[in-house]
Symmetry: C2
Amino acid sequence: MASNWCCHHLSQKFLFRSPSSPAVLQRRLKFPFCPPHSVISASASLTLSSDFTWDDVDRLSQPQPKQNDSSDLRGFFEKVTLCNRNSEKQCEFIPFVIEGHIVGYVHNGFSEHLRRYEHVFTFPEDTSFGRHVALHPSLNSSEHRTEAIADVVNSLSEKHIPGIRNELYPVTSSFGTPDFFSLERAAAPYFGIKAYGVHMNGYVERDGEKYLWIGKRSKVKPTYPGKLDHLVAGGLPHGISCGENLVKECEEEAGIPRSISSKATAVGAVSYMDIDGYRFKRDVLFCYDLKLPEDFIPVNEDGEVESFKLVPVTHVTNIIKSTNMFKENCNLVIIDFLFRHGYIKPEGLGYLKLLQSLRSGDCT
Amino acid sequence: MASNWCCHHLSQKFLFRSPSSPAVLQRRLKFPFCPPHSVISASASLTLSSDFTWDDVDRLSQPQPKQNDSSDLRGFFEKVTLCNRNSEKQCEFIPFVIEGHIVGYVHNGFSEHLRRYEHVFTFPEDTSFGRHVALHPSLNSSEHRTEAIADVVNSLSEKHIPGIRNELYPVTSSFGTPDFFSLERAAAPYFGIKAYGVHMNGYVERDGEKYLWIGKRSKVKPTYPGKLDHLVAGGLPHGISCGENLVKECEEEAGIPRSISSKATAVGAVSYMDIDGYRFKRDVLFCYDLKLPEDFIPVNEDGEVESFKLVPVTHVTNIIKSTNMFKENCNLVIIDFLFRHGYIKPEGLGYLKLLQSLRSGDCT
């Protein structure tokens, strides 16, 4: 039984069903990912307080009444929608252009904060990009740009860019092209920079059934405390390849030695775009699968994970469909896993739409 | 060695390198799938006469000089381009609209043939669709439409719609929605109808290495004679699910019993759109993987396959990159396999663009 594999148990907490306000329902029904003939409100997910326990996970991962229809993909569509909010508000952003390439998007309101830094930002208007944000012509090298923008970010950090992480992300127009400069990770969504990450599904196969190793994030993490997470996931910082970054994260997050992690298989990518106030997240996640030895037990080494548990994939499916327990973007990577491993079948209603919705963001 | 698994050998034939005319090169370089920094002409594939042999396949599947760089994805981009020709000619087609839904596209030239059938086709112009093809209002049921259009197709078949197969395809606006009528398979591209199919990668794992079972099409097949093909593939006719159709095709094409074929895993879909004169192919292929027992030997039971051979995946990769031996659309499904099984890595130049290009058609 999966519960034998739980590394840590906590007491049970209060659960409640999410209110479905008319505005929320209207947004859901307008969303282009709606499967045909759907009435999404009927399958609204359970929303939980952030300090749910593995006992809650166990209970809600059991097949619920009315949930046995594997052709009903509505719970998955909802999770995709959660990662792709407010796409209609793109018109509130203007492009951030460097050397003729769009590298990001800045909200009209946030751009007002940047106007104070005339030696760094300019606001030209031309026929190619319309009104846009550009850099002062004197900032003509990666080093100059990185330094000048870091000063701005530091200056804005107290009031306008919370959660500085002192981690630099490369700024490019598309993956694999040269960086224009590097930017503090926490500032990336304020500049609408594309951010890349690696997410790994660590799984075990026993008697023909597959199990996923699931992490539960530490309750003291600044982002998504207490939520369910992949065994291993991380942003892709400046100057490291996806494969090398994954090996590093495997070691730090789950104590997986290189001898095992080097066997992880690159399996594709998902993307999403999420607008939340001045923040425009444009994320691309490179997905990996790693089939682990049956007797492997992960050990978190950086304090960011409270505990791990091995959960049958069929139970993970139920958790995703009927709760919001997972950190939002993990849902996409696990839904991709469910597609590739045959848990979601073409007979499901809206199969192709769901498949495509996993790359709703600019996946370049 | 893989050659031990060849079921049939034939004599060696003439090979030649494809001419790269300026027009061809220009089209390639304009194509949006070009990876960054690419000069695609440098990796132009070998083009072969259709009666190449397994000996030729063996020879060309060996790593070639200058071909060892796994980050060079240009040979794959070329194959995607082959399935997505002439996208700039979409403006020569007008929509085919039924009950307010676009179900296809008809070339301006072909529409002139349809004008003779006033009791079947009308050519209205409105603000929603512009000038378009519609059906006569009296054709208000699926049965009436199917019958009336079958008469037109039969009447046009001798001169304008060659290769009638007496196989009906469902006509829908998107997969899983009710059919508006059914149409002869050979006529589908003349009406720009979306056609769905199932393609299966049959593979074997030995000592940690994966091998794909490859078919060689009969030389007397009317379409793509002598080309390499999947172990099992077929169009999705009216009135059968993907899963059931796959089991049926497994039996007919490769002698795979239901006890094995029912274990095939649905793994996603690819799509393409190809314009060739009056023909507008809009195909969506549901992809399946089937891990076969090591001792399984496929046997073709419908005469459409000349022979099968088990080929290491690394060799299949070389064949796809450097030749045109595979039936064009099989390349897409195998490239998808290479992505999902880690043979193509994020470190490859243009990884995300290639991944996305596998769904260049309307994948709905």
